[in-house]
Symmetry: C2
Subunit: 390 residues, 2 copies
């Protein structure tokens, strides 16, 4: 096991009706003047934003609002949020939405108290030294941003995604009511669950040996999604299944699944170029990339893929030929994504093979590599993209 | 799934050499004048206390020391610590040891800044409103106290144990070097692992339905201990196995295994009377109590015990007679404890059947019940103790 640090100080309030405690938690964590940041009109139409406002008012807190966050959140709205926060003297950002809204909120939080351009952080030019506190009322189980210090923003000047993260950006609280995820359409629900599984995959396929405890936690999260996702596709109002998925999403990305081991993250980065170029759902892009990546890297550690097949998918171990078991696990992964309505190829996603050079260009892969399980240079990334085509 | 809150703000620094960062973390979390609190002479003889002192000195921090914490930590030393902290103006408690030392440190931390008698908290007369910060350098994988807000102290005036806990008592950091646990004798190692498993059992056997994610996390922690403990008994210097056990101990008790579900805790409370009366290792007492408790309550939910048998112990499900599978799981649990050198009866522990009335008296069970999976009154507690005799 590698040396590691683990820090997840976010306070979680989970369950029915918890959005009505938003004001209580903003106050507890030091907010006075709040930016309520959200996405589309559904949060308004459903009455959620009104309930959050009422909860803030009950605690005597004032607020301004900024909606309009899109999936793959854009730099333009971040600049707008920063200007608004400075003008209004905002001291707390409350994200009401999913990963995109929380990511956008984190960018506004570090940008508001920084003298320069917030993109300096995302482009690697500077490190954040302070941040406004961020809290969230989560409405989508997917990104795990409610419990991570990370944020991914799409720069509209060229449509490319970049990630930034630090301890300062760890949200101070997350309010998680599974009922708020019930209105999510099947495609977004499945896409979110794919993202959750992908967060575990990035940690599961590692070169670090003998990390049984994190292996087992990873497998537990994956098995939960595999069991619960088909239930919510069958009945979107299944509270218990929604609740299990929502908490699994947090467990997948607060890094308990990554403790003590090298992580990979090549597939996420390859996917970011897909969703930046085609504006597709991040999860859908991951459903395309992961089976391709797994197929490409499998021979690097056949036994790990066999363990994955047996422990996660319940395959029978083929002791005479572990490679067959490993392949079966990958096939089961792809078939599962398919069964829940996810695309598993460029073709099904609406991506084009002839765009691969463009994807490699925005990935800026020349002279460096992606991933750690297997280090992928330009040639290897291209090969993975090609495997993903069909 | 029940509504819940989850809060685990402790900063974990895990791995080789991390004890040399103690000063860094004390400073980060606001300490200036430190009480180094520890147990027996082994921490001194091994040079650990000297390394911790050097690390504090490097950061310009001053300290006083108080050793002598015993297993089942006593109220007397807590009073002594409180007096010392007040006299010396201590503002940070650094526990160097296992669960007993951390529990004693938490009691000193809340007691030092309280006007009355610290026992008020443990006897239910008062709630703590403030606390000094507590950090730890962990040397035993067992109690999970490094990541919990709980503390158990034995009152020497009558030799009975009482627990107290609150958010204020959550340690601010935990330094966890698995190498520090290598010198632990086999009996203490196995006793610690039994405690870890028991922390999961208390959460696993629940009346809350449909909490797949926490079921899976629980099973992952249990399977890890079952795999890794025999390895360290075979080779005490197996770093990887020690590391897996140490982190599993934290995962077992930071409450990720309890999220969203009713917990039990009858067995722990029944055991506390055993270790208070006989001064036995807490884990050894749990190895005696748990198989007895499981046998007594099994019929309340045979399918849950069958799931435990199949998923944790790898038993074959007997679909015609699930009770047989359930019983097999309990038998496997008892056999495992036996195989790692734990006692599994009063007789083996050195406890006496004729003391049962005394145990029930200090348990103060009249007019109330223990546990939630099945609520146990006086008669039922007596029956569990009797089952534990042989």
């Amino acid at each position: 096991m590698d040396n590691f640090t683990f820090y997840s100080p976010t306070y979680f309030a989970f369950g029915k009706g918890t959005e009505n405690e938003a004001g209580h938690y903003v106050k507890r964590f030091g907010g006075h003047k709040v930016l309520i940041h959200y996405g589309g009109g559904s949060a308004v139409r459903s009455g959620l934003i009104d309930r959050v406002k009422a909860s803030l008012e009950k605690e005597g807190l004032s607020y301004v609002v900024l909606g309009g966050v899109k999936p793959n959140p854009r730099s333009g709205l971040v600049y707008e949020g920063i200007e608004l926060c400075r003008k209004e003297g905002v001291d707390f950002i409350l994200a009401v939405g999913g990963g995109s809204t929380i990511d956008s909120s984190k960018a506004i939080a570090v940008g508001t108290v920084y003298d320069g351009d917030f993109w300096d952080f995302y482009s690697g030019k500077a490190q954040a030294e302070k941040s406004l506190p961020v809290g969230s009322v989560l409405t989508i189980a997917a990104a795990g941003s409610e419990a991570s210090g990370g944020s991914v923003i799409t720069n509209e000047n060229g449509m490319y995604k970049r990630a930034y993260g630090c301890e300062l950006m760890l949200p101070v609280f997350a309010i998680m009511n599974p009922e708020l995820t019930m209105s999510l359409p099947p495609y977004q629900t499945a896409s979110g669950c794919t993202d959750i599984m992908a967060h575990v995959f990035e940690r599961y396929f590692t070169n670090t040996k003998e990390v049984e405890i994190t292996d087992r936690l990873c497998e537990g999260v994956l098995k939960t999604i595999i069991k619960e996702l088909p239930k919510v596709l069958e009945n979107p109002n299944d509270y218990e299944a929604r609740a299990n998925i929502m908490w699994a999403g947090t467990m997948a990305h607060n890094d308990i699944c990554g403790a003590g081991r090298e992580q990979d993250w090549a597939s996420h980065n390859l996917e970011h170029e897909l969703s930046a170029l085609y504006d597709c759902a991040h999860g859908a892009g991951l459903a395309v990339m992961f089976p391709a990546w797994m197929t490409y890297v499998m021979h690097h550690d056949v036994n790990r893929f066999a363990q994955f097949a047996v422990r996660v998918w319940g395959c029978e171990m083929n002791y005479q030929n572990p490679e067959e078991t490993a392949k079966e696990g990958i096939a089961r992964t792809k078939a599962f994504f398919h069964s829940v309505g996810m695309p598993t190829s460029f073709e099904e996603l609406g991506a084009k093979e002839e765009d691969i050079p463009k994807l490699l260009e925005t990935l800026q892969i020349d002279g460096r590599t992606e991933g750690f399980f297997v280090k992928l240079g330009r040639k290897e990334c291209e090969a993975v993209y090609r495997l993903a085509c069909r």
